[in-house]
């Protein structure tokens, strides 16, 4: 996978984005592009604004400045109609799964299908079973979110995010709170979905093992200077980045401290 070589127009463009709560700036002047089919990681320390960047990219927050474009079309300044259309191309998998707790897993996955497609209930049921099977949850259709484990919740969240076959999938801290094996399986799932669906993935994480395993490119958000200080392939950044903070992050504090290189 060498997305830098193929001269494709970017799927996502983040252009001079400044994020702020009131007058408190979280990150400023964030700019990067994501090519179709790429797995792009947003990394940084705790509190650097990674998840906030994701919520800006999916339209939960309006930026203080700058714009997010999908296939060259502005998302932040789009009209309601166009925004809704663009939104339907995005799938978001939240940190804790964020499944609707009053509905079963099957109802969770089928709600977007019932809302936005003209499919018959039977067809919807088949799609729902397929999506749940894809994330390893076949047979859990009638379970409520409170009845399954944290790792299963996250995978069910992925199934719901994929319900409408979006071309862009967002993952917020997929491995947070998971044991190493479950976390690895989720990484494999992300890679597998990219390979099979060809979807573009944006993953917010600070898990080094995940970053090296899945990322084609990554952006590093720095909590001190409140902006991005590195952009590129994480392995290259680890070895060649001129920023000591980036190298330290990618090597768990120092080259001898045992940074993982899966």
């Amino acid at each position: 996978m060498a997305p830098d070589v193929t001269p494709q127009p970017p799927r996502i463009t983040v252009d001079g984005l400044t994020m702020a709560y009131g007058s408190f700036v979280i990150q400023h002047d964030i700019s990067f592009t994501v090519t179709p089919g790429e797995i792009f990681v947003v990394m940084g320390g705790s509190g650097s604004g990674k998840s906030t960047l994701l919520s800006h990219m999916v339209g939960l927050h309006a930026p203080a400045k700058g714009d997010v474009l999908y296939d060259g079309r502005s998302f932040c300044h789009a009209g309601d109609e166009e925004r809704e259309q663009l939104r339907r191309r995005l799938g978001v998998s939240y940190q804790g799964g964020a499944l609707w707790s009053s509905m079963t897993l099957a109802e969770n996955v089928s709600l977007p299908l019932e809302t936005f497609t003209e499919l018959s209930p039977k067809q919807i049921g088949e799609i729902v079973s397929l999506k749940l099977a894809l994330v390893g949850l076949a047979g859990f259709e009638e379970f409520y979110p409170s009845e399954i484990s944290g790792g299963m919740l996250k995978r069910a969240g992925v199934a719901r995010a994929m319900a409408l076959d979006p071309d862009i999938l967002f993952f917020d801290e997929p491995s947070a709170g998971l044991d190493p094996i479950s976390s690895r399986r989720l990484d494999d799932l992300i890679l597998e979905l990219r390979a099979s669906l060809g979807a573009t993935m944006v993953v917010v994480t600070h898990e080094l093992a995940s970053i090296f395993a899945i990322a084609d490119r990554a952006v590093f958000l720095d909590a001190e200077t409140r902006t991005m200080i590195a952009l590129g392939n994480p392995k290259k950044l680890r070895d060649e980045s001129p920023e000591p903070r980036v190298r330290a992050f990618l090597t768990r504090g120092g080259p001898d401290a045992g940074g993982s290189t899966r």
Binding site: V92, S101, P112, T115
Partner: protein, 379 residues
């Protein structure tokens, strides 16, 4: 003092006039009422000022964070007095803990700033109040737009959600509404009976109870019960959904939370509030009748004929229409507070409290507004 009460020892050894060595012995644990570091330093300085301070802990048998706290305060105060201090004499573990505590410098957090002046606080309150009213009106507007979408048959919510909310806030509230309105009717009848009996006008208890229940008390009491019961539940439900990012998940899915969550709740109360109010009116009248018939010895037929004559269609409809408005109010305030809730357990609790308080205040205020308008219309 015996060594049982005070297992630690402290002795200051002056090797030279300018150098002091603090000898610590015995057990230095935080439960043993350790000496005050400032006093120890004052005593050392009291004899003659020193320039160098060190520790000797060769007789120390046991220690915990009590020793570390003591030592770190001695060092801090010595630094402030310009005394050089040497920590080499402390146990190895205590030295490591001190180094660990000093590894990251104290952060100047915004919380540590001085509280703002009273003028600034008034200003902050005022702008917050203004923002809150704008948010509330925006929410009301969105809810009404969603209602418009519903009438065009395109609202996105699940029928099963609507039905379960209806069940929760309608039939399941019957018990408490019966109890409250029966007792209120009884109390009204009782108060009326005591007063009217003096004039030999006992029969007018029927008028008093019937008019008060249908026009005012029936809908207000039902609304207050619903605010405490259903409004709080809405706020807690939606607050928890917000904490769990379920509301974000709806938005990014392109499903409007107002349509999906607020609309069924508002509809349920719009449908159930008038029914509950009519029911409360009836039960209240029965409560009054218990007093009228049981205490005043009025005949049942007489009482009910009098009641029928007293209630006109206007006051009945006034009560019922007010109940619809109160229902919308309770639903919207509950949902708004839930969706505004912060993402913690405490915040969800606050959201529920605030939903109840705001609803009750608004119910009473709206009732006042109704009274003025109806008076102007001479209804």
């Amino acid at each position: 003092m015996t060594s049982v009460e005070r297992p630690w020892t402290l002795r200051v050894d002056r090797r030279t006039p300018e150098m002091a060595s603090v000898e610590l012995g015995g057990v230095w644990r935080k439960e043993h009422r350790l000496p005050d570091p400032s006093e120890v330093l004052r005593e050392i300085q009291g004899a003659a000022p020193v320039h160098h301070l060190s520790f000797d802990t060769s007789h120390l048998t046991d220690w915990d964070s009590g020793l570390v706290t003591f030592a770190s305060r001695v060092f801090a105060e010595a630094r402030a007095l310009g005394i050089a201090s040497d920590r080499a004499g402390l146990p190895d573990g205590a030295q490591r803990l001190l180094r660990l505590a000093e590894a990251v410098p104290e952060r100047q957090t915004r919380q540590s700033g001085r509280p703002p002046s009273w003028l600034a606080r008034i200003g902050t309150r005022a702008t917050a109040g203004w923002t809150a009213s704008v948010v509330g009106l925006t929410f009301l507007g969105e809810a009404l737009l969603a209602l418009g979408v519903l009438f065009r048959g395109r609202a996105r919510f699940r029928l099963v959600d609507l039905l379960s909310v209806i069940q929760e806030c309608g039939p399941r509230a019957l018990g408490i509404v019966s109890l409250i309105s029966f007792l209120i009717g009884l109390i009204l009848g009782f108060v009326g009976a005591v007063q009217l009996e003096q004039f030999g006008a006992s029969i007018f208890v029927a008028n008093l109870v019937a008019i008060a229940m249908t026009r005012e008390i029936g809908c207000i009491m039902t609304a207050i019960v619903m605010a405490g019961r259903t409004g709080a539940a809405f706020a807690a439900q939606l607050g928890t959904m917000n904490t769990n990012q379920e509301i974000d998940a709806l938005s990014t899915m392109g499903i409007s939370p107002t349509e999906f969550l607020v609309l069924p709740r508002m509809l349920a109360l719009i449908l159930m509030m008038p029914l509950l109010t009519i029911y409360a009116d009836l039960v209240g009248i029965v409560g009054g009748a218990v007093v009228g018939i049981g205490m005043l010895g009025l005949g049942p037929t007489e009482y009910f004929e009098q009641t029928r004559g007293a209630v006109n269609l206007a006051s009945f409809f006034i009560g019922v229409s007010k109940s619809v408005v109160f229902g919308v109010l309770v639903a919207l305030v509950g949902c708004l507070r839930g969706m505004q809730s912060g993402r913690s357990a405490a915040a969800v609790g606050l959201a529920a409290t605030s939903a109840v308080v705001t609803s009750i205040v608004l119910i009473i205020v709206m009732d006042g507004v109704f009274a003025v308008i109806l008076n102007a219309l001479s209804l």
